[in-house]
Point group: C2
Chain length 204, copies 2
DNA sequence: TGTTGTGAATGACTTCACAGCG
DNA sequence: CGCTGTGAAGTCATTCACAACA
């Protein structure tokens, strides 16, 4: 429905949702843009403006019903369902992501893990068995997966990304420390642990 | 020297540095804002403008000497040295971060790991032994650490952040799925694996 | 010629401020 | 009365476009 929503707004919505879920867990039922903003470090106006891209969710004078707004945000973000996700690269980081308990309650389930190291293929990780990377095309198609996490070394990331995209993947979170090229229409998010730290040292 | 540099510019510099290091590894000596931009998905003008906050690093007609520009960026970002870093929370994710090989070449070394779980305290992780979280204040001071990574559950993150800040930490990367309050002057970066995924589903 | 560095122009995002309504 | 939703204003970021120069 919204004509066009800036990426930067979409990027904040999961944070709003996360804060609402925490409030709910505290037993709260109503909140305000003011309170949300204080928790998250955004202005109240920012939050109201962001939400206004999608509709009217609050009540003048009282604020937002937390459960309702959370559910609306889940719908907007399409996390009112469970998305299957594959992980490629089962080193320490990939291993941790495959076992990460935080995905399930947020709408994601890791359904397959791949590696090209014969020593890792066949190993049990969480409830999954690591599969040969050569099976990515057929498994991604078979499982109907659209989302992948890359956790390989930098040297493998571009080739893995190409394979994933060819197999039908349309969204990638890349933990490998390199930028990869993907065709228009494929979204990608970067998480390089070292880059996160390097964004802080300037200020020290 | 620069009057004031927007955070968003600082946030891109580590990506420029990373791309330059990859180019160097490919044996290249010279690059251009054009080429860098194509690799990273930014406009050439963006890159030139960003660099112009800090000085003049290129040559008209030819471009940038890669090794030189990389070294200048390291100086600007203050990663032309090795920063000690502590990790709090040694679950799967913390474990992977403590052992992550990618920090060292980017200017960081994990010098201590803490957890409050008696089953984890005393365990060897990489070259470190997990210490009791109660030792954070004295260890952070003793080691002179200014940077911390939080990889605890959400429920512990605020208390851990408070302890870290009180101990002298001035920069935090928070992998816990919650926003924490820190006093002005303490910088914080968030990496919530589920949020990264939730930023993608909207577009599917 | 090719590419930088940079003011000027454009575009995008955030904040303001208040009408409107519960 | 308090808080939302939202145009308008203000601020910040990006792109343009070109002089300067190797």
């Amino acid at each position: 429905m919204p004509t066009h929503v800036p990426d930067i707004v979409i990027g904040r919505l999961p944070l709003y949702l996360r804060a609402l879920e925490h409030l709910l867990k505290e037993g709260r039922e109503i909140t305000s843009s003011q309170e949300l903003g204080e928790r998250l470090g955004y202005s109240a106006a920012q939050i109201r403006k962001d939400l206004s891209f999608f509709g009217e969710f609050g009540k003048q004078g009282s604020g937002y019903r937390i459960g309702y707004l959370a559910q609306e945000l889940r719908k907007i973000l399409k996390v009112d369902r469970e998305w299957p996700v594959v992980v490629v690269g089962v080193g320490d980081l990939g291993h941790a992501l495959v076992r990460y308990a935080g995905f399930k309650p947020k709408g994601f389930r890791i359904v397959a893990a791949f590696d090209n190291d014969p020593a890792k293929i066949g190993q049990q990780v969480g409830s999954l068995v690591v599969q040969d990377s050569r099976l990515i095309p057929e498994e991604v198609k078979r499982l109907g997966v659209q989302i992948a996490i890359i956790a390989t070394p930098a040297s493998a990331a571009q080739e893995v990304a190409d394979t994933l995209v060819a197999a039908g993947i349309r969204a990638i979170v890349n933990y490998a420390p390199i930028s990869v090229k993907v065709p228009a229409g494929v979204r990608i998010q970067y998480v390089d642990p070292a880059v996160q730290l390097q964004r802080l040292t300037y200020y020290l």
